[in-house]
Structures are given as C-alpha cells and as structure tokens.
Symmetry: C2
C-alpha cells in the first residue's frame, strides 16, 4: 500500500528524514509537555505522562473524525462523537500513559481538561477534542494534567509536527509522520500505535492536518473510505483498542486546486501511516503483506487476509524465518471452513515471496524451494532477535531499517475481488513487551 | 469442566497415576512402533515417526467420529468421513510427525497404509481408519510406514492404553488418559493436542474406547453434544487444525446398564481430556477458565469467552502475572462492538479470581486489590518461566503440577444464558516452540 520504499541505517538518519517531512501545514501549532504523577491505582510508583496540544490559529468548521467500534469506548471517544456536531474545532488535547476507559467519572474529568485548555486558548470548551491512550481502567491524574496545561500552551509552535508525533507515543519505537503535497498546500499525518491494533472502522490515534480548504462534508465523506482501505486492513495482534481515533482537519489557508488529487493524497498519507504503524508494531520483526485475489467478494478476500495475519502459528513460523507453509494453508482453511464453507478451494494458488507453494489446492514443494523461501523471510526481517542478560527481548533498533515485507499471495480463482491486508509476526519481543507492560 | 482437581509433584507420580487409569476396556488392543526416515521435502534430515495401532478383537458396527471443519482437511479426514458409512470398524492406524494435508496423492497413500494394516489383521481395508498429525504439507514416508506395520502389529497388547497415549503425541509434554466406569464397563479416552487448537466441531486426535454395548446410532447421537460442550469450548491459540478427529468406539463386550449414565460418563471423559489438552498446550503456563453468564444467548456467551481467551494482550498479561484487567475489558468490547452492538454492557459485572474488577460497566479498582489479583494469577501458574543458555524457553516440567485455573467471570446481566470456555496464556515458551518447530 505504501508509496515509498525507504531504508535507514541509523536512528539519526531516520530522524533527519522525519524532520524533512515534519513542516506543519499553515494555520496549525503544536506543543507538548512532560510531567510526573502517582497513579491512583498504584500510588507506590511514579509514572510519566506527556500532554500534547494541536491547535488551530482559528477554529475550523472543516474537520472529520472516526472512532473505535469497541463496545467499551473510552470517555474521550464518547466525547469526541459529540464534538462532531459542534460548529468548529479549535484544538485537540492528547495524553498518553492512561486511556481513560470505563474509569469512574471519566467523561467529567475529560471535560474538565477540555475546559481548561479552552480557557487558555480563548475557545469554547466544545471546540476542544480530548484523546487519551495507554492503560485501560486507570483514572486520569486530572489535577496534574490541569497543572501541566500552561506549559503545553507555552510550548505551542508552528514549525514542526515532530514534537507532537513524539509526544503521543506509548510503546512505539519511533515517531511516525507522513506527508503529501497538493498544489501549494500539504496534508501531514502523525500516528500513535504499537499494540492492541486491529482497528474496526477507525484506528489508534491518528491526526491528519491540512491547510488545503476542503469543506467539512467532503472531508467526512473522504475519511471513511480512506480509513476503510488503509487502517482497517491491518492487524498487529487482532485486538481492537478502546481508544481508536482518527481526526482530519483543515485550516483552510490554501485553496484546494483539485478535490480528486486531495482525496488521493489523503489516501496515500493514510496508507503510508498504516505501514508505519505495522512496521513499528510491538515486537514486530517481519511485516506481512497478504494479497488475496480471485475471491467472490472483497469482504471475503479481506477476512481471509485477516485470518492469515492473525494465525499465531503462521506468525511464529515467520518470526523464526521458518517457511512452515502448512500453517498458511491452515489459516485459510480455518476461515473458509467456519465462515464460507461454500467456497471451493480446489483451484487455490498460493505464493510466498513469489514462489509457488500451493497449486490447485495441493502443495507444490520441493527440497530446493526451502532455501529460497528462507531467503525471502530473512530478507524481510527487520532485526535479529536476541535476549538481554535478564532473558528479556527488546528491539535493538528504534528506526525502520527497511520497508520490505513478507509477501503472501493467495489466488482463490473463484472471482475477481481482491484485498490486501497488513500484519506482523509473533515474537519474543511482543511477549516481553506485553507480559510486564505496566511495571 | 473437569471432575477432578489433581496435582502432581513429579513426572513419576504423574506416570503412576496415568498407569492407574490406563487399563484398556475389554475387546481392545494397542501397539506402537517408532522408526526413522528422511522427509521428501528435507532429505538432509533424519526424522522419527511413531506408528500406533488401536485394534478391536472383533470389528464393531458401533462407532462414531467427528472431524475438523477446516476447509483444507487432511487426506485421513477425507477418508474418515467415508468410513462412517462402512458396516464396521476394526482398527485405527495413527502416525505423528506428518499430517498428510494437501500433499499430492495423499489419499492414495493413506489407503495403501490401511490396506496393509487390514491385510495383516484380516480385515477389509474399509474397516481401517487412518489418522495423521504433524507438519502440514509434507508427504507421508509411505514405504517406511508400510515396513513398520508388522512391528506395530506384533506389539499389540490388551493391557494398557498408555503406549498408545504416548505414541500419538507430537509437541505434547505428557500423555493424556481419562476414564470413567459405568456398571461393569468403562470408557477410556486418550488425546493428542498441544497447538493449532481451536476446534470447530471436532478436535485434534481423540480416541474414546468403551466395552459398554451402545449401538452406533446412539453413540453418534451422543458424540456431537459431548464434543460441543467440551472440546469445542477451548482454544489454545485460535488456530483450527486440518486434522482434528474424535473417534468413539464400542467393543460391545459389556451390557450397558444405563444409557443416561453412559452419556454422562462420556461427557465427563471428554471434559477431563479437554482440560488436559489445554493444560498441556504449547507453552501454556496458565489455564484460563472464562465463564460468561447473564447473556441473551448461549452462542453469544461462548463467542465472548472465546474473544477473551484469544486476546493476545490479555494472554500476555496473564503470562506475566500482571492483572492488566483493562485488556479483559478490551476483549469483551471488541467482540460486542464488532458482532453484537445491540448488547448493552452498562450493567456488566466482571471478576478475576472472585475479585470484582468491573461493576455496572465501570472499573472498580483500588490499590489494595492489585496484590490480591497478582496472588490469584501466581497461584494458577504451572511453572516459572526461564530461558536456557541459548535464550530458548521450554517448560521445566513434563507433568501437570496442579489443576488450578485463572478464573474469569463475566456477567452481562442481560439474560440467562451462559457458557464456560477454556484457554491459555501467551508465553515465550509458545513462541520458542513455534518459531522453529521443524528444525
């Protein structure tokens, strides 16, 4: 899906490239501040939180947003849905560390924070959108947050989106920024997301800013299909966050020369961010790109792709550079057997890295293929896995060394629909990250 | 679901208990043999296979079987479905290491093996049921297997089912045997299964033998609900094997005094084997037992339970004895948001180890609860996790130290239906096992 094929040899090289992408569209400023607090639920620990503001010079009526379909949405998501009816949006206030989901009094606390930001920026409270990400179930340290608002307001600057891209992350290894130009204007997006990621109609925290003047109704009409064909076609771990949010807003500073070009550029920024999110997923060592074609419907093609990228045994095999392609067949057969038993798999063609492994529903393996398949897997590996002295695993890089994927092609030869889904392997690094995330 | 609460201090203690359960029902014999071969797909390696026979003294018309719903079933599954129409079953021939799924000519090879076994046991080829488990995609070493048949026939003995329970395993840590008595007869079941386990209407390899005389039609009518309420309510890793098979057969040597008692005993043997399979799942350190009650339908209760036991982030938290209960809420909300958005979660009550964590849809956490929740998780841990010198993780025990579970209770307060689902944590041991399974 990505338009690019980048590679980086070091963190500095990657940061320099990010900086080159980071110029804010006209009419926006961002500011962040970091502070310590003691969580209500674990008062023996000192935790750190970053508060990030994205502010418009002038409130805009032209914004769109999509939110998680998880049936336990966070308080900020509930408030965000209401904000869609507001006449204008002036700022977004974002915190990491605690997601404010199902916490007692969560909505009231989020509204208090919005009111404080609004008061300092001379906005109405309804013009401030709150977003939170982090631990589910804990309460926001609202007093500490309100104390921190003036510092983040003071930090507001209109040059680079990089501090905001860094401010919103949790377990992400690196910030994610993508941009596209349309005429004299630009579309710039940032994303947070590393785990609990199989979005359902919206995703993680994504903010897409543009100075191109596109009216609210058109922004909203474009955001749904853009999310649907990008963020909604990935899964890092099949889990759907309670906080997923995508916001798109226009400062309207630059006339839009071509709405079609704007929509294509929006799609590209979303697609590029999608790949960034998967590549920087928790513990990800290989990105999987599964293209299902020849399907009777697009929905089936997508569901089959999801079944493959969510099959733990196939994911583990990929982690070990082990071309255990039987596990791929299992994942396809599992989905079809359970959900689409009418589909005939007898003509199925499967390829891994362009090498045919299944033809007409039968394996097509030879001893000589093993080495080629291993080479394809190794070529897509982002880094070698190695435990530290304590037996814990963590990625040795904090930048994306390359953009190669493990390429899986499944042609059912049963129709003309297709879909491409992104996913990741299942690694020791994922388990280390998540078996003791809070301590 | 289990009727027992066993614990074992050592492998020897566990084996002694297995031996006490292992007496074969009248009318059955089992035999195994182990041999080396070079796989067609990886001829540089020498692999080992065990061939196991389960034979009746006299072929029986009274048998039942259920098979995987995976849409890429193995050749033995395809043949097994045909065998259901045969007048009688006389023997089962089972191999581990290679599952004979989608392999070119797979059915012909399996039939050749059945014919060889039939010829040596004076049966018709249609009276022999083949079963294979192991790597998907590879070809069976049929010549080596046929050469090994006489040794397994010579090994046939009518005393203990333990050699067969040991012969059918792959990555299992220990054999699994459960029994129940009805009148003067018995029901004895064995199971193989450790990974690729979320059965769909049948499961792994399970053989249930009885000497109680129960006619074919009644055996078949009883097997479906027994599987449905036991094997079909567990998931180790959400993957559905291409080889899942459950066979139930009666030698008819003992009159059955009470069909109701037989059905209850059959259910109990299946339920006990289900818990054994989960507890011995690949890399499992904690067994999860999720009871969903107050649901509008049983199907929803079961699906919600499955969503919890298959949520990677919750599974990782459990592995780390980390009561990250937010991830539990995420898993419930993910399913309801995607599949049952009409369900009202605002009155939901959730407990972990009997401790209330969510009430009326809001978290009910206090600092003091953290230690109690951690204690519950630690109490259900089967062993401590520690990498070896090479950084690989494997379980330090090959017996089940206890039968305690992580107990999750979710009451939706929306109806009277309920379901209990078994699952497991997601551990370094699982990744180590599966990232390099074949080498």
């Amino acid at each position: 899906m990505s338009s690019t094929s980048l590679s980086f040899g070091s963190r500095d090289e990657h940061r320099a490239w990010l900086a080159s992408q980071a110029a804010l569209p006209r009419g926006f400023r961002t500011g962040t501040t970091r502070f310590e607090f003691r969580p209500f639920e674990l008062p023996s620990k000192v935790a750190k939180m970053t508060l990030t503001l994205i502010a418009l010079d002038t409130p805009t009526p032209d914004f769109a947003a999509m939110f998680t379909k998880n049936a336990f949405p966070g308080a900020p998501v509930k408030i965000g849905r209401k904000r869609l009816a507001e006449p204008a949006l002036g700022a977004i206030v974002i915190n990491n560390k605690i997601s404010n989901v199902c916490a007692p009094g969560g909505e009231a606390v989020a509204e208090r924070l919005c009111a404080e930001v609004a008061s300092q920026l001379q906005l109405s409270p309804g013009a401030v959108l709150p977003c939170s990400t982090g631990i589910i179930g804990w309460r926001l340290p609202v007093e500490s947050m309100i104390t921190a608002v003036p510092a983040s307001v003071a930090a507001l600057a209109g040059r680079s989106i990089l501090p905001a891209a860094e401010g919103i992350v949790t377990t992400d290894l690196y910030p994610k920024i993508r941009r596209a130009a349309v005429g004299d204007g630009s579309i710039v997006g940032i994303a947070k997301g590393a785990g609990m990621i199989e979005p359902n109609l919206a995703t993680m925290l994504v903010y897409v800013l543009t100075d191109l003047a596109v009216p609210r109704e058109q922004l909203r009409a474009m955001l749904t299909p853009a999310c649907d064909s990008t963020f909604n076609r990935m899964s890092i771990d099949s889990d759907t966050s309670t906080s997923d949010t995508v916001v798109l807003m226009s400062s309207g500073k630059v006339p839009c020369p071509d709405l079609g070009a704007f929509e294509r550029a929006l799609h590209q920024v979303c697609a590029d961010l999608t790949e960034d999110i998967v590549r920087n997923g928790e513990g990800v060592r290989h990105v999987l790109r599964v293209r299902v074609s020849g399907a009777p419907t697009e929905a089936l093609a997508r569901a089959l792709g999801k079944s493959v990228v969510n099959a733990p045994l196939f994911k583990c095999a990929v982690a070990g550079n082990d071309p255990n392609v039987g596990r791929l067949v299992q994942a396809v057969g599992k989905y079809v057997g359970a959900h689409a038993p009418e589909v005939d798999l007898s003509r199925t063609l499967m390829q891994l890295g362009g090498i045919t492994i299944v033809e007409n529903g039968e394996f097509f393996l030879e001893p000589s293929k093993e080495a080629e398949l291993v080479a394809h897997l190794r070529g897509a590996e982002l880094y070698a896995s190695k435990p530290d002295a304590a037996g814990l695993f963590s990625p040795p890089v904090d930048y994306p060394p390359h953009e190669r994927c493990v390429e899986v092609d499944i042609n059912l030869q049963q129709g003309s629909a297709s879909s491409t889904v992104l996913g990741a392997d299942l690694t020791h690094e994922y388990v280390s990250e998540n078996a003791d995330y809070r301590s």
